[in-house]
Symmetry: C2
């Protein structure tokens, strides 16, 4: 591989001058600059990025950690992230935890090893290397949490997300306002803060309306279609089955829709369903799904902005959570109770 040395020799200058020419930072005579550029072209030189990273102590990478690559909800968030990243000159890389099956070690490695200049955690907090983050929070790279509240043990991390409990309360209240009193909840992962918040919102709304949550009305759906199918089956077989189901995300709502249909029932005539996230499939299923929309792109942009500021200022600014607005989008999967 051709290195800076050979460029310098060919151009008849020192390597320092070549470096300066490349990085535009320092003043170099326009004439020498031209000579260097010629030499670069002739030799086909391109700087060794590994050496640059090493020397500079930074990589210009932002690492985004998310539960799984194939999740349509993150499309929007990622789009927002990319937009700002491009504008600021960062490259974005993704790392998937495979639903938290990632070893805490690998995560720690990423964190400490500085192969990225900053890190965005999207709905992937649970136990997830908390020890590491909370322990030596000093020499670590900037972290921002997106899409969910941060775990109480590491309140020092900034975050950007909607008010999940308020949104879930709203969704539940919407069902209640339609006359439903027996409302089931298909929860997500036990470990996930995000889905715990949504469950809390559901329970709060029920309580506020003086409705009881019967044993067996809250059931785990593991955030997957298959999980939701099983969960729905359970709900339908309940001794006093719900007349409406609130799913902690749209993926599961789609599973619920499917299973209800398979049971020979109609949504929303026999049973109402409401989801969460407003993924792109939700408008296309039958019936189109009433759900809570998160401003995904905005979340992405804001997390990225905060990372950038943290990197540039070299210091973690305020760790306060930044709330963004959610929105109930009404489609056709909820009806007044018969």
């Amino acid at each position: 591989m051709v290195s800076i040395k050979e460029v310098a020799k060919l151009a008849g200058v020192s390597i320092a001058t070549v470096s300066r020419t490349i990085n535009n930072k320092d003043r170099v005579n326009e004439e020498t600059r031209a000579r260097v550029r010629d030499a670069i072209a002739k030799t086909g030189y391109s700087p060794n990025t590994l050496a640059q990273n090493f020397r500079r102590g930074r990589t210009n990478f932002i690492m985004v950690v998310l539960p799984t690559i194939g999740d349509p909800f993150f499309s929007g968030v990622v789009k927002g992230i990319q937009a700002i990243a491009q504008q600021k000159g960062y490259s974005v890389l993704f790392s998937e935890t495979q639903m938290s099956s990632i070893s805490s070690d690998e995560f720690a490695n990423l964190l400490v090893s500085r192969q990225a200049d900053g890190m965005i955690l999207l709905a992937t907090m649970p136990p997830f290397g908390m020890e590491i983050i909370s322990q030596k929070s000093e020499r670590l790279l900037p972290i921002v949490v997106g899409c969910e509240a941060v775990h109480p043990q590491m309140r020092h991390l900034p975050s950007v997300h909607i008010d999940n409990v308020a949104a879930a309360r709203e969704a539940t209240a919407y069902l209640i306002a339609h006359g439903h009193e027996r409302i089931g909840f298909i929860a997500g992962e036990k470990a996930s803060l995000l889905t715990k918040d949504r469950e809390a919102g559901y329970r709060a709304a029920m309580k506020q309306a003086k409705l009881t949550v019967q044993e067996g009305w809250v059931v785990e759906g593991r955030l997957t279609i298959e999980g939701a199918v099983k969960a729905t089956r359970g709900l339908l077989n309940h001794s006093t089955p719900p007349t409406a189901i609130f799913c902690a995300n749209d993926e599961m709502a789609i599973g619920a829709l499917h299973e209800i249909r398979a049971a020979g029932l109609k949504v929303p005539d026999d049973i109402s369903v409401i989801g969460f996230d407003d993924i792109r499939y939700s408008q296309a299923v039958d019936p189109p799904l009433t759900t809570i929309r998160q401003p995904a792109e905005e979340i992405g942009e804001k997390t990225m902005y905060r990372i950038c500021r943290a990197i540039e200022d070299g210091v973690m600014l305020t760790a306060e959570p930044e709330l963004v607005p959610h929105e109930l989008v009404v489609r056709r999967s909820v009806a007044r109770r018969a």
Copy 2:
């Protein structure tokens, strides 16, 4: 940051010995080894990865480039990749091209800069830095193409994929076997080889059955739900509308289903629909989608295996495409023509 030097001092050895201890490669007396380990623990030392990368000239990263993060089809492929990667000690990073809006520059940068030891291109070939790859194919890092055939201009790249044209032919033939003669095709991106192959398969099947493809029966859907909705509307308004629609992927098939329903028609009674990929939503929509399944996980595993071999042997082995089997999965979106 604590460096190897301080560990060496504390342990009373040279930095060489510390390095040897860490990397296990060379012989170190068990006793000194213990001392060094103690010192490492005491100082909380962890090696500077940037320096290691620089020195070793490798990063242990595999970069996976895909069109978009939120695409459920890639879940499976990625799962396969991750499995092998973990087993071989690589970390996997993802980079999304945002549907080929990525600058060729950025791609070239990744390619040349060796920030990864190998690269997997998933359905993202089109123009996409072909110049670079074909030009100086020497000093580049190993590349394997997954999910689609390689562009004729760079036949030297290995690839792993199904026979897209055969599969599409099969899907079309399945419709024909059900009595359909007016069959529409919703194509993907113009630029994408993958969808061009599928279109070729469709046309081949029509030709073989001596059916003509009328003007306006092949329409672009841009691989998105919205694109497919528009495309379907066009098809339905055609002077001689198709009785069956073949969509180049399931995402679009879901869009088609939706638009057909919106037009007051029934699938499959009035119109049959067949998709491609078998994403997880396809079984949950109404009606469940008949489609072509790709062995996604297997594709992932095989691409990763080839990358590993290429890296380890330091040489690109055979560039022959490796074909994996596809499978028609029959559900309920296709019926005999009325």
